[in-house]
């Protein structure tokens, strides 16, 4: 069924493309939001991915792999968006990722003090991407490797490093509180 829609969209049927986009939309947005940590940037990335998808659909070689191809476009769009954020941050005030997130939305940031949330925000976009694809999109590691465009071994090691980085970030989140308790 989806392959039929993909083939129609490849032939220029925009209604078929709109149907495909509607089916994928919520998960695309959620994935971009997790990777980028910002709803506005997520919207930009999804928009870029959908535009690219429509334009390049006729070049898709395997219509049955549309989902993986679409998520690859999305992850690439997220990388581009993250790079723009990085450049902007360096030009402005040189905040680290944690502080930048707080500066973007201080009220929401102060309200949300869950340590895992903050630890996840400390990860690099590449680490957030592999964790999101595996634990949010429920992809297998080989499927995630295809989406992010790396060999299987690279995807495995990136997943391992991402989990280690998340543990380290969790530990870092706890450290100030422990030190504060010891000091009082």
């Amino acid at each position: 069924m989806q392959t039929d829609l993909v083939e129609q969209a490849m032939r220029g049927n925009h209604d078929a493309f709109a149907d495909l986009a509607t089916r994928a939309w919520a998960k695309l947005y959620g994935t971009a939001g997790l990777i980028l940590g910002d709803d506005g940037y997520a919207q930009e990335a999804v928009q870029a991915a959908l535009i690219r998808a429509w334009r390049d659909l006729p070049t898709l070689r395997h219509p049955d792999r549309f989902d993986a191809w679409l998520y690859r476009l999305l992850v690439n769009a997220c990388r581009d968006e993250a790079r723009r954020r990085q450049r902007g941050r360096q030009r402005e005030i040189g905040l680290d990722g944690l502080q930048a997130a707080a500066a973007d939305n201080p009220v929401a940031w102060l309200a949300d003090r869950d340590e895992l949330d903050r630890a996840f925000a400390r990860l690099t976009p590449d680490h957030r991407a592999i964790l999101t694809l595996i634990y949010y999109r429920d992809l297998t590691v080989p499927e995630a490797a295809a989406v992010i465009g790396t060999p299987l071994g690279t995807a495995k090691s990136r997943l391992h490093r991402a989990l280690d980085a998340l543990r380290a970030a969790l530990a870092a989140e706890r450290r100030p509180r422990i030190e504060q308790e010891m000091g009082t």
């Binding site: 947005y29 535009i51 429509w54 334009r55």
Partner: protein, 290 residues
């Protein structure tokens, strides 16, 4: 202490809760945007190739006969333009045009493709494709209702328009002349044109006009400049050449400008073509007009 299994076990629920949900209606907006975009043809080498429309740079020698600023109406001379003639293969009711396109940088080509697709669409041409086989081409169908001269004009005009602060005491600007060095625009027109309409009726029911609305920066700049330069020219330039040079009769404070082009056989740029160009914006810098 958070162990490996504990952390990995917490992640699915954590990410599901943390993932944002899109606002209703947002998807419709995004999908609608893609409806206006052309699709690529299979086999196109995106990473290393580009396209360039073919035509004559002399087509930039466009003309505008009358410019209306508010209540002021000033006649200016008209210069002839030239047209490149694309190779065309007749089709039932339509003219098929396939323009060979030289290689350019990918990013520039992608931006230019969007600009040209929008310009042609504004003229009433909906079937525009960029394709590659042994060479690169823009291909589209011209319906009988569209003037081929308009197509020619929008393909061969970069589209950089400027309202010039003409120096006091400088010679009167002539239509078709290049903009002298050191003469600067009053504002960035590309970012300050907020609306472009193809209309009729301000000067004559039969004469097509381009009605422009400006943003606040341009509105203020025009008001300030024209208030202190009554009786002086306010040249309008397109792609570095004077398009028309009306004399300021009264301050322009409304933020709207109406440009009227003449209906003469050798006109290089009709109101329809000018409106299509201004609606779509200029081609990207770096795009080479042949």
């Amino acid at each position: 202490m958070t162990g490996r299994d504990d952390l990995e076990g917490r992640l699915p629920a954590f990410l599901a809760n943390r993932a944002p949900s899109p606002e209703p209606g947002l998807l419709d907006d995004l999908v609608r945007q893609t409806a206006d975009l052309p699709q690529r043809r299979r086999g196109l080498m995106l990473a290393s190739i580009g396209w360039l429309v073919v035509g004559a740079a002399a087509a930039v020698a466009v003309l505008v006969g009358v410019v209306v600023f508010g209540s002021g109406l000033v006649q200016t001379p008209v210069a002839p333009g030239t047209h490149a003639t694309p190779s065309a293969t007749p089709a039932p009711g339509m003219t098929t045009v396939s323009l060979p396109v030289p290689v350019q940088e990918k990013a520039i080509v992608e931006q230019a493709e969007m600009v040209f697709a929008n310009r042609l669409k504004a003229l009433g041409i909906g079937t525009f494709t960029a394709s590659a086989g042994n060479d690169l081409r823009f291909t589209f169908l011209i319906p009988p209702s569209v003037d081929p001269a308009d197509v020619d004009a929008v393909l061969h005009t970069a589209g950089r328009i400027e309202w010039l602060a003409w120096p006091d005491g400088a010679p009167t600007p002539n239509v078709g002349d290049p903009v002298p060095q050191g003469v600067l625009p009053l504002f960035d027109a590309a970012s300050q044109i907020t609306s472009v309409k193809l209309t009729t009726g301000h000067t004559s029911p039969q004469v097509p006009e381009v009605e422009l609305t400006f943003g606040p920066v341009a509105t203020e700049a025009l008001a300030t400049y024209t208030t202190s330069h009554i009786g002086q020219p306010l040249p309008l330039a397109l792609d570095g050449r004077i398009l028309t040079a009306p004399i300021i009769l009264s301050p322009l404070t409304g933020g709207d400008v109406i440009i009227t082009t003449p209906s003469v056989p050798d006109a290089g740029l009709s109101a329809a073509a000018l409106a299509a160009i201004l609606k779509s914006g200029p081609v990207p810098s770096g795009w080479t007009l042949p």
